[in-house]
């Protein structure tokens, strides 16, 4: 990690592809910059003013020239767009079955939690060779999760979940930066991403399961907050078993998918979206739980969805 370099390390599956596109743009740019500089230099020297009353010949326009330098750049930028968009779509779409890690940004630190329980601050352990999907939210202002070696970046926005995924290819220790200005110690909101071989990662996970899995923490929190009073069979509230990822019909007639953002809103602002056939009686938990506890609750609700699937 030490030492001067001119080009960043590439340590994820996407990094090489981004660098390839970058190389294409560098090539195009070098060609045009060299062309313009050479023309300017040659013209400026070759046609320098030799006497004060020199009268150069006048040329007004050549439409074929104009057409050329409109069409060629057009074709090139369309290639850039298409190539870039394809890669971007890929970056924004985590593959199925990616390992899911939660991240919470707060002034000025990163908190991570692995579903098995281990929590980390400003350090993120990930396995090499397996896609990792980050589910991120912020407790205060907008931050941005940026790992230069992986060529990925995503803003971490309060009030919603954002996602990014990557697959590390080389074991090593990489910079993690906050890229969105977030206040006084913005520059101190840095961390390390430690990419490990899968076996070592498994070992690390096992040795760091100090507490319980995230979903279990969520379950006990669920009980402590009194949720099961209503959210049980015939309890007057919608059942949460098998809920995650399924469509929910609302009183307003609309249908939403029960994803992280929906669960988050329903916990903090339960009256925003009322499930059809139920009364708006649930109190808001805004201010009673923090972002971390929120992710634990959501993790628990997600695990309920899974149990049901496994059972069926």
């Amino acid at each position: 990690m030490e030492g001067f370099r001119l080009f960043p390390e590439a340590a994820s599956t996407i990094a090489g592809r981004v660098d390839g596109l970058f190389g294409f743009l560098i090539g195009v740019s070098l060609f045009f910059a060299a062309l313009i500089f050479a023309l300017l230099l040659v013209f400026a020297i070759r046609y320098r003013r030799r006497s004060e009353d020199e009268q150069p010949p006048q040329i007004a326009r050549r439409d074929w020239l104009e057409a050329t330098w409109i069409l060629i750049p057009f074709v090139l930028v369309m290639i850039m767009f298409g190539w870039g968009a394809k890669l971007y779509f890929n970056m924004m779409n985590p593959p199925d079955g990616a390992l899911e890690i939660y991240a919470i940004g707060k002034q000025w630190m990163w908190k991570f939690q692995h579903p098995e329980g281990p929590r980390e601050i400003n350090e993120l352990h990930v396995p090499v060779g397996h896609p990792v999907k980050m589910t991120m939210t912020s407790q205060d202002v907008i931050h941005s999760f940026f790992v230069p070696a992986f060529r990925v970046k995503m803003d971490v926005v309060p009030g919603r979940f954002t996602h990014i995924w990557f697959e590390a290819t080389k074991p090593g220790v990489y910079h993690l930066f906050c890229a969105e200005y977030c206040g006084t110690m913005h520059a101190g909101m840095r961390g390390r991403v430690i990419a490990m071989r899968p076996t070592l990662y498994e070992e690390w996970l096992r040795s760091h399961v100090s507490g319980e899995p995230m979903a279990s923490t969520g379950e006990s929190l669920f009980g402590r907050l009194g949720c099961p009073t209503c959210h049980r069979a015939d309890g007057g509230a919608p059942s949460l078993v098998g809920l995650f990822g399924t469509p929910v019909r609302l009183q307003s007639g609309a249908t939403v998918t029960a994803d992280e953002s929906y669960l988050r809103e329903s916990i903090l602002n339960p009256r925003a979206k009322i499930v059809t056939g139920y009364q708006p009686i649930m109190p808001s938990f805004q201010g009673q739980i923090n972002a971390e506890e929120l992710t634990q609750l959501i993790s628990y609700i997600k695990s309920l969805g899974q149990e049901q699937t496994n059972g069926s």
Binding site: S252, N269, R271, P280
Partner: protein, 225 residues
């Protein structure tokens, strides 16, 4: 568009030595054209200014329709309709003021302007009453806001939009009233004539624009759902 508006050749017959002609214009026709275009260009900036607010409104209305309907129920639609009628009436009297100026009737002009101002003040008074009422029922976000309905946060958001949009509108009206007061003074001094009444026309344009903003605010704020 090339040669359409250079103005200089077409207007040469108009007064070239009128006392209201500024030194850098050739004639009153050119001066009139410049002032009108200037006001319209300014109104384009006003469209974009209110456009930012309408955008914010649209985003949250789409996201929280139920809360917006609930918030809207705390506004009196009949009072709103009355305010709309008053403001439309003031637009009518403003248009009639321009007419009076065009035919060179300074006294009538002053009277219509005063009537316009009266209607404007009536509108602002009702608005003031609405604000006062909201203040007393703790429904002004940021000032001891308290609300116990179904969607307290969204109603608060809705009322934020209500107050920002209507207060920006009211601010424009107050500026308009000041400009009209100035016109009344000028009319009393007999400054306008069929050749020169540009200020009446362009301040008229401004007033009608303020009216148009309200035409949209009324259904968007008072009649949600």
């Amino acid at each position: 568009m090339p040669t359409a508006h250079s103005g200089k050749t077409r207007r040469s017959t108009l007064a070239k030595s009128h006392s209201a002609l500024a030194h850098h214009f050739d004639d009153l026709g050119q001066q009139y054209e410049a002032s009108t275009l200037g006001m319209w260009a300014f109104l384009v900036t006003e469209i974009m200014f209110f456009g930012g607010l309408f955008l914010g409104y649209a985003v949250y209305r789409a996201a929280y329709l139920e809360g917006f309907i609930e918030g809207s129920q705390h506004l009196d639609a009949i009072l709103g309709a009355l305010m709309t009628a008053i403001l439309l009436g003031s637009s009518l009297t403003m248009a009639l003021s321009v007419h009076a100026a065009q035919v060179g009737h300074n006294k009538l002009l002053a009277r219509f302007l005063l009537l316009t101002m009266l209607l404007g003040v009536a509108f602002l008074s009702i608005k003031g009453y609405e604000y006062w009422h909201k203040y007393h029922t703790h429904m002004v976000p940021g000032f001891a806001f308290h609300y116990d309905g179904l969607h307290p946060e969204i109603v608060r958001l809705f009322l934020s939009f209500y107050f920002i949009m209507t207060s920006m509108h009211a601010l424009h009206m107050i500026i308009g009233l000041g400009l009209q007061a100035m016109l009344v003074m000028m009319a009393w001094r007999g400054r306008f004539s069929p050749e020169y009444h540009t200020p009446v026309e362009i301040i008229g344009l401004y007033w009608h624009f303020v009216d148009i903003v309200w035409i949209f605010l009324y259904p968007l704020l008072y009649l949600v759902g």
